[in-house]
Symmetry: D2
Subunit: 328 residues, 4 copies
């Protein structure tokens, strides 16, 4: 299932070392100004090779618009966006043709399909997120025109919150041939009340599905999240005032529907599974073998997940905005 | 959106104080033995009135099968299950006709629809989960026939894990006119590898959406969950052995696809928002008012969420089992 | 697949001789007045037993509203409508427990599911249309409030268009233990332009699918339909005027989108396959046997298809109205 | 809505004079051999410029595979197919920038979206079918491996069935600056019984929707189609034999489910609306104006619809094959 959304529906395609990755957006309102320069900046944020802390795979990830735009505006027709793959180094991956990298999708894809494009992880590669980010950039534009902003930030990396300490943690993990995880928080400001649908289209449920669907994410919480487990109702409820609420423990969502407060989401990101340190694993013939995952990998994927998480939240909100329009 | 699932698709209906609540199951395989006694026990687990710790609303919640069964077996036709509402006490709710209960969906439903069935929360009531649990019971039967068991348990209530301490926390909250939250863990044992679909049908994404869509749930994690944020990749990866894995930090899912290990999910449950203690809120005319939520409420919803969470995990797994069948 | 529609989504359930048949409507706008008396009249039109020309199965088909209404108005929650089955005469059907009725779904259901509720055709019975008609009545109310009317009429029965001749054809078929088919035309007046979506959500495609999905329908045409095959483009195009069009060969749909003209649809209805005349068939053991289909059957289903076809067109239009609202 | 199918789901994109047209296939089984040469031949059948009877727009329509294939086999990942547009002559279309061509989607697109890519019809162009045909070619390969063949043929053009007469009709229409319509029959041989789902997923309903969604199609019939309106039940029922049926009036579908007989579908194709003869129409300012549609158009679209109709029937059957696999 490579499509997401009901009204602003995106379909993603492409593998890490195939000809291209991309996305089709179906359901974008007509008459919206849209050009490459509206999409490219968010893609640049997720691009590797921009810092010593990220993978050295150096690709410009230039997006091309194939359809859906006429004289600078959307027409209501599907918008096809593609990014050609350039800096592929498939021979880096010869060793993993037959070995399953621990913590990766290699084993499960092989089990599911009986065939696997091992080059750079194929479809399970982080490059797949290019499609989501490109589509998310379009959603972010629409939201921005409706007074909604979506912003992500790193809360923690390997237990540290201070930027200098974070950098040190990442560098030292890299030197050790290891990797580290962290926590990202994404906030949407300016959302109208009424987004989300009972019972199986709750805004928090859609957000949770969208976030957990990002590779490497192992946890999602809204508002106070797991901390609610230690609280009294009288502490956790947000009393109402004439104009709103006195607090926002709920993270902007009540009964699955936006309340007009800020929507606050946090996600837990696991340490990159690709590490140089030697690990035990299995090959496709069933032999136990050792593996050191070479190639160009991020010792910490947390910074590059920020634009992906922003994109996913934007996609959910945009979809709900269009859904809500049906009721009015 | 009151439907869930792609292949074993359920559609839920009904309000707390309407004529009935229920569910239609579309896509249940034909030829499966099914009778009321296969469904009733799980409903009984979520039923209130069975302990001094739960709401005293006393209903038998007897399920009736309206369609889809012929001579004791499923026919492939939709299975309609209904439970008549009995012990309604609508006048308990007169006070909240115009007041928004803090922490409830009252305000957001009013904003979204401009009309609201206030009686017992209407559609946003916990009674809505009867449909899910009834459908989940059918899914659990199917899974059981395929060697899969799904079990939930309470990990924590208000920071306590010991049953006696949990009971004490709940009782003391009740006496104080307050409520407490907690954490539930649900585990599926016996799942085959290969369940779940890249990119937007990942098993963990489906589970996260399903769990966060349960009222009162504010966080979801898979495997080590939020703890991954403080770990090294070399700690978090699960090395493979000849027959499986040396550990299960991943919680049974790699790249969104089941690995054959136990699937481990935890959810954070907020303290019941209905409390007797006086809170500040607003009414539908915009006035700031005080409210004490009377009626018969659970001081802790955690125990009654266990069967709901089991049902939701069962529904996701069953749906993925049928999806997977298309590939073989 | 027992659901229909994307925005005004209905889910149908129930068998001819089960406890009840019914429908869940998901996505009905909130705040609409709705009561049993708004739905019952259309159900009465499809009800048998009202004329010597129809089946003598005499049921009142009283609809009950189980959910979704509060103080006389829709709330946005799913509307559950059920009709209890009453006048079942299952022993009429003992003969067909093992024999496949020619022209019926008996053989194909058995092949597909390996089990079959033979009583009255089970799920494939015409009684299944009660759900569609009940939901269609709700859609018709909404359309009517938006200035749109949907009307069906019989064009032909067994080649005759005159009502007296039609009655004679049906009576003489009945006496001969036989049945006859015909043609129904459904027209929607007052539709706005802009309904329907390129490329796979075309209004005519949705209508064709909806109509061909009615049991006994074997052909669908829009506007001039099959007659276009003998025409020149210069005859078939509808020239435009300042305010509209000079003709309506297109039947109100251009490029899959409504033009604002009347939408004109015709469907071909086959003669009822249940006939008393002896036919050759097969039983579930593979033996060739003879069959005379007893029970209470309509010698001509055309009149009772009219409200079903109206309902289906109303459901499609309503769904497209809500879809279109997203764009504005 | 630019997606079609539930299990073998295609998403189409692209305009006549944009950068490219194409399709994403989601849900193709893994492990199937697939290369450009498997897809190109069906595209060549729908390509213009191959005969004096078709449009002289001369494009090679070379398909490129962007994703989903690894070492010559499908991997289960989405297959992206694109065809770059080459021989565009946008200035041919300057006249229709502001005029609505009769019989075309110009007026309704303008009404729906408030903006319109007028060049060659934009999204409503026949070039959009390239995506469907490319995807259909993949489906045809799969069906062929399962013993199913799908074949289309021209039954009638402007009332003539003889090939020489058909050619004469088309030539004489072309000389007169006019166009002609016709009827196409598509047959699937070798289908297993059991395809299609009650109640809203009937095989004939899916086929009718698929066919009516092809531009220029105004009618669809299955088996005896409209002729059933003049028949007795005793004539129209297909008696069963030990191994099958004595006739095939039903066109291979009973109760919406395939019976194992040949599936027989006919579609009515309207005369191409683009004609040189002067017609009255309106412009976007509301003025009544005259129009002669220049450019390179087919005087009869019937021959080029044959591969499109084959593709659509193949897509429906493939989707039902995968759906059916879930039940076994």
């Amino acid at each position: 299932m490579n499509s997401f959304g009901r009204n602003f529906r995106i379909t993603s395609f492409g593998e890490s070392h195939g000809a291209a990755v991309g996305v089709i957006i179906d359901g974008c309102p007509a008459g919206m100004k849209l050009a490459v320069q509206d999409i490219q900046p968010l893609l640049d944020q997720r691009r590797p090779g921009t810092s010593p802390l990220t993978s050295s795979r150096n690709e410009m990830d230039r997006v091309e618009i194939l359809s859906g735009i006429f004289e600078g505006k959307t027409t209501g027709a599907p918008i096809a966006l593609i990014v050609r793959n350039e800096n592929q180094n498939s021979k880096d991956y010869e060793e993993i043709r037959e070995k399953f990298r621990p913590g990766h999708a290699d084993f499960t894809y092989q089990e599911k399909y009986g065939i696997r494009d091992h080059r750079g992880g194929g479809r399970s590669s982080g490059r797949e997120t290019i499609g989501r980010v490109a589509a998310g950039a379009v959603a972010l534009m629409y939201l921005s025109e409706h007074g909604i902003t979506v912003t992500g930030k790193i809360l923690l990396v390997h237990g540290k919150s201070n930027p200098d300490e974070i950098e040190r943690e990442i560098c030292s993990a890299k030197e050790a041939g290891d990797s580290v995880g962290g926590i990202v928080e994404i906030t949407a400001v300016g959302c109208p009340s009424g987004l989300g649908d009972p019972v199986f289209g709750k805004l928090d449920a859609l957000i949770a599905g969208a976030m957990m669907g990002i590779g490497a994410v192992k946890g999602v919480e809204i508002g106070d999240g797991f901390a609610v487990s230690g609280k009294f109702g009288s502490e956790n409820n947000d009393p109402m005032t004439r104009d709103g609420f006195m607090s926002n423990h709920a993270g902007g969502i009540l009964g699955g529907i936006s309340s007009g407060q800020d929507i606050v989401v946090r996600i837990a990101v696991k340490p990159t599974p690709s590490i140089a340190r030697i690990q035990q694993t299995r090959d496709i013939h069933g032999n136990v073998v050792e593996i050191s995952v070479g190639g160009r990998h991020d010792p910490c994927i947390v910074p590059r997940i920020v634009p992906v998480a922003e994109a996913m939240l934007a996609l959910v909100l945009m979809d709900c905005m269009l859904e809500q329009a049906k009721r009015q």
